[in-house]
Assembly symmetry: C2
Homo-oligomer: 326 residues x 2
DNA sequence: TTGAAAGCGCTAACAA
DNA sequence: TTGTTAGCGCTTTCAA
């Protein structure tokens, strides 16, 4: 492989001058610039970015940490992040934790070992006290999941509102025994959704029951399983507010299996407004999240972090989309 | 940040010895090893991997090129690749081409500039003659999409068989006017599927019609649009073999919209066996592809490439899954 | 506008 | 078993 020295030798100039041409430095005589460019082409020279990175102390690489990339919500998030990163010639490293603390730590280490310039966390497994240490090595940003006390740049949605308007909608539809089935136990996002759910119940004078409030549901299969559980309770609910369209879809599928008619006998509300929400029969009433936008925004904040490291909290809007499942 | 020199100074040893400890070199006195480890902990030292990479000429990073990560097929592929890479402490950089040749080239350049050790291509946009040049810089592997003439390691499925068994199934169900609606025009994968489709038609003495054979369909919306097109033909088909479950789902949705009854009046066959195939009403009869396995296998070949750079072609099995749409 | 020289942090051949 | 030394390929003062 040709190196900068080869180009220097070929042109009779110094490595400095060649470097200046590579980096579009202003003070290079036009003729020498052309000479260098010619030689680079001739030799098939490409700068070794490993060397550039070591010297500049910049990797032009961002890591995004997700539970699982195959989860449609996260793959959409990553899609929009990659598009922004790509435009700026940054690379995006995908890290899957499977919600494992150890794996999250392993990936947080990427910033300590200078393998990436920054990390975007879309889920949080370790306590903030643990994660905090890594902020000494470079920017860490939250996108989707969050921690109020962290004081790092955050792009999120008003999850309280999501829980509130979803539950309120179910109640207005006439359901009186509303269950909820959210994601991670022990996450601010889930806490806020459940808080919104409980607030809506309270406002309308409906009961909250522990056995109707489930967490750690993510997949279609989780939805199926939990619906069956709920139906077998002594007092089954007549509607459910879920934390994702996948869970809602699994519930609808299983309800049909059990002969429960949706929405007449049981109402199901999703979250995210994934393509599947429109395809299901009946369509899933859901809370639309601007997934693409939050991913885009988070990456933009990351890429402009050096010039303005504000610890801003961006909150994007979400809204209800009514379909047939309620 | 502490460097190896700091550790050397703190212990009174040389950088070499510290380096040996870092790299688990056999010949280091146990006591000195402990001494070094103690000092590393004390100083909060972590090796700078940029420097290690430059020196070792290894990035421990693999790039995977996909059209769009939000496409469920590709997100599953990437999920399994990342899992294997992660186990080996390799990073996975995700690159989205959107089927743009320029973007593909930009990402192929990662290997030229030594930013990654290898590239896995899951789709192909440029001609092999163009891509070939990049094999001089490191391993390039095909996974999913392929090019027979390339002579690079390839993990694929028997797409001819997929087209053949899918179409045969439709014919056996009694459909006689079978259309097809595949992915990229100008890809070996698509060519082979269509070839299988045509072979099945021919064997059963059914006609092939140009206007029944569509390509460049990927999304739910493509499915909807094309179904409408097909239905408005002078002689509409009575079934369709599609290249993905998303397209099939879009078609089923649109058919309902148009009042076309599935499977009685129109049969739809998907490809991939995504979760959505089971959720749709009716369920989508589809060709199951072992997505996880091909991703896993491709990454395994990549990671073992140095020790055994065989240009093997691995072909994994696919099979029909019958549901309600045919 | 250019070049010499130092050095980013690390590894590895060689010598001891 | 350890240390010395020479780089990996590049950028960036500093001086000219």
């Amino acid at each position: 492989m040709a190196t900068i020295k080869d180009v220097a030798d070929a042109t009779g100039l110094s490595r400095s001058t060649v470097s200046r041409v590579i980096n579009r430095h202003p003070y290079v005589a036009k003729e020498k610039k052309l000479l260098v460019e010619e030689a680079m082409k001739q030799l098939g020279y490409t700068p070794n970015s490993l060397a550039q990175r070591l010297r500049k102390r910049k990797t032009e690489t961002i890591a995004v940490i997700v539970p699982r990339i195959a989860n449609p919500f996260f793959s959409q998030l990553v899609e929009s992040m990659e598009m922004v990163a790509g435009e700026h010639n940054f690379q995006l490293v995908v890290c899957q934790t499977n919600n494992n603390k150890q794996r999250e730590l392993k990936y947080l280490n990427l910033i300590k070992t200078k393998q990436v310039d920054g990390i975007i966390l879309t889920s949080i497994d370790n306590d903030w006290e643990v994660i905090k240490e890594y902020t000494n090595y470079g920017p860490i940003i939250f996108c989707n999941e969050y921690d109020e006390n962290a004081g790092v740049p955050t792009v999120k949605l008003d999850q309280f509102k999501g829980g509130y308007i979803g539950t309120t909608h179910l109640i207005e539809r006439g359901y009186t025994k509303v269950a909820c089935c959210c994601g991670f136990f022990n996450s601010s996002l889930t806490d806020d959704r459940i808080h919104g759910y409980r607030t809506a119940l309270k406002e309308r004078g409906l009961p909250f029951r522990d056995e109707w409030c489930r967490t750690n549901a993510f997949s279609i299969d989780d939805g199926k399983r939990i619906l069956r559980d709920l139906m077998h309770l002594e007092e089954p609910p007549d509607a459910v507010f879920t934390g994702s369209d996948e869970v809602a879809a699994g519930m609808i599928k299983e309800a049909k299996q059990l002969g429960v008619v949706i929405p007449e006998e049981f109402g199901v509300l999703g979250f995210d407004d994934q393509p599947i929400a429109e395809l299901m029969e009946p369509g899933i009433t859901t809370i639309h999240q601007p997934v693409k936008e939050i991913g885009k925004k988070a990456m933009e904040i990351m890429l402009s972090y050096d010039s303005k490291p504000l610890n801003e909290i961006v909150e994007l809007p979400l809204h209800l989309v009514v379909r047939g499942s309620t």
